[in-house]
């Protein structure tokens, strides 16, 4: 091969595997989802054009609204905790004290475990006769039926999501806190500012952009929740399907031998658009505050 051709080709040879995977499993599937959303395709039949029929059916589907409510609630109730608690945790383990590195690593353990393992542990801990109720009982309280009804199940799943994310977001905050000049804190302390005051007027402004990043990451993740609820409330989404989330609905309607692929694609598109809007919303809220 002439050297010139060789040199022109080599970048593309290096890029080939990566581009092929990304195109085949991300970009093309996205385009095909957009196309399929307007057909009545099923798992074994290609389907034909039906216009907006799937979206009309979605709007009329009670399960869709339940799922949208649950996924929306997940964002509203989980995100404040995933933004704030890991920040406090990072402040706790930021100070160089003997043994602090051990604590940092230990707090990361739930991140390393699979969500399946985490969910099964918590199902057992939150059982009516499990560890948490055992401790409550010994203190003369409870039992609390954490897995008793649809609302309790959903809240327990949210607690699991927060618990599993603590260490992950803590590390992101630690990286950001490393860039905050220590003098700021010391000056504030000299001025007689208390711990709470220093937190609000020194720490928060200094890591604000990281808080926005964590907010964006965790909103998107919370909105797409699947595993926690699937494992805690069961594949059918708890009593009468009241705990179904949007991605659970995608999985339930779109897979299997008689999956309604067209319908599930329309639903996927809705998930995609809302995720994008969520991200824009968080980033925009950031910019407005800055002005």
């Amino acid at each position: 091969m002439p050297r010139r051709t060789h040199r022109a080709l080599s970048p593309w040879l290096l890029l080939l595997p990566g581009l092929a995977v990304v195109a085949a499993f991300s970009l093309c599937p996205f385009l095909s989802t957009v196309g399929t959303a307007f057909t009545d395709a099923r798992t074994l039949t290609p389907g034909r054009w039906v216009g907006l029929e799937n979206f009309r059916a979605l709007a009329a589907d009670e399960q869709f609204w339940v799922a949208l409510r649950n996924s929306g609630l997940y964002v509203l109730l989980v995100v404040p905790f995933t933004v704030l608690l890991p920040l406090l945790l990072a402040l706790l383990v930021q100070k160089r004290l003997p043994g602090v590195v051990f604590f940092r690593s230990a707090f990361y353990t739930p991140v390393v475990a699979s969500v399946v393992v985490a969910a099964l542990i918590w199902v057992w801990m939150l059982d009516d006769r499990g560890l948490v109720n055992g401790i409550l009982g010994a203190l003369g309280a409870g039992p609390v039926h954490f897995l008793g009804d649809a609302w309790a199940l959903l809240l327990s799943a949210m607690a699991l999501t927060v618990w599993k994310g603590l260490g992950y977001y803590m590390v992101i905050y630690l990286a950001a806190l490393g860039n905050v000049p220590r003098e700021l804190h010391e000056a504030a302390a000299v001025d007689g500012a208390g711990a709470l005051r220093r937190f609000v007027s020194v720490t928060v402004p200094a890591v604000r952009s990281t808080m926005v990043l964590v907010g964006a990451l965790s909103s998107v993740a919370a909105f797409k929740v699947f595993s926690e609820v699937y494992l805690m409330a069961g594949p059918t989404g708890g009593p009468a399907g009241q705990d179904t989330t949007l991605v659970m609905l995608v999985q339930r309607t779109g897979t299997g031998l008689n999956g309604r692929v067209g319908y599930a694609s329309a639903l996927s598109l809705v998930v995609f658009v809302i995720t994008l809007l969520l991200m824009l919303l968080v980033l925009r809220a950031d910019r407005e505050e800055e002005v």
Partner: protein
């Protein structure tokens, strides 16, 4: 530097111990449950934290009920394959994007950024349809393929290569080394840290993944550990000792790996988030 007062230190350690109980305690409780024999009451209140007569019987029994060691092997296969494909694919693409000048480079870079914006959950049905059309459903290959070269890994590698000083490579160009030689002999050895990060997170992602293998695998022989555990939970939920043994099998290898490689973990998460 201001000295930390004694009461503040005490308070900090107290709080850290409290968080430790909340984050690690559940795993220890699960470990303890997995060693409790069938005759021991696991529902006592107040709870008993140590097994009265520790036994490994639950591990043998869980292996009788589901082929848990085969599932572990399937998970291992998927995870190792994912590490290898990600290391090779992401470093090659990252090198081309960071170091080579060619027409279409910006276009290729945008393709990876766009892919990052498409949430996996919103294309999962289309992926499933495609895998079916290729007759790959119900195979471990199909489990590996969609994540075999992660867009985020490509961008991480691109940043790593871009941060390496260019002079050394220029000397190699003068010496007549071709692109492949420069890539394998000079560039790759200088980004070992990032390669480790990509390897660890690929392994963890593949080992822990649930939704995609759940959709693709229908034959219980092909299950990975996470899908197998879900099945175990669905069928034997009334025996927490067995489920506990199963979860410990699934989480132990990762905890060991994490304990050995923790400094890379923290570097990876911190770098990825702040620079990304």
């Amino acid at each position: 530097m201001r000295r930390t007062p004694g009461w503040e230190k005490a308070l900090r350690y107290l709080l850290m111990l409290l968080v430790l109980a909340v984050t690690v305690g559940p795993f220890l409780w699960q470990l303890s449950t997995s060693f409790k024999g069938t005759t021991e009451d696991v529902y006592t209140s107040p709870p008993r934290f140590l097994p009265a007569h520790p036994t490994a019987g639950n591990y043998a029994e869980v292996a009788d009920i589901i082929p848990v060691w085969d599932y572990a092997l399937n998970s291992l296969e998927v995870a190792v394959a994912s590490v290898l494909t990600n290391l090779a694919g992401a470093s090659m693409a990252g090198y081309a994007l960071a170091r080579l000048r060619f027409r279409g480079r910006a276009f290729a870079g945008h393709a990876f950024v766009l892919a990052l914006l498409v949430p996996l959950e919103s294309v999962i049905i289309a992926q499933f349809t495609m895998v079916r059309d290729l007759h790959l459903n119900n195979t471990l290959t199909a489990v590996v393929l969609p994540g075999s070269v992660g867009a985020l890994n490509v961008l991480l590698m691109r940043n790593a290569f871009a941060a390496v000083p260019q002079e050394i490579e220029e000397a190699a160009v003068v010496d007549g080394a071709n692109v492949w030689q420069r890539f394998t002999r000079i560039a790759l050895p200088s980004v070992r840290g990032t390669l480790a990060v990509v390897a660890i997170f690929s392994f963890m992602g593949a080992w822990d993944d649930f939704l995609w293998p759940l959709i693709v695998l229908s034959d219980s022989e092909k299950f990975t550990l996470t899908v197998g555990l879900n099945f175990l939970h669905g069928t034997f939920a009334q025996n927490p000792r067995l489920v506990a043994a199963g979860t410990i099998i699934a989480v132990a290898p990762l905890v060991v790996m994490f304990a050995c490689l923790q400094r890379y973990f923290f570097r990876g998460v911190g770098e990825g988030a702040v620079k990304g």
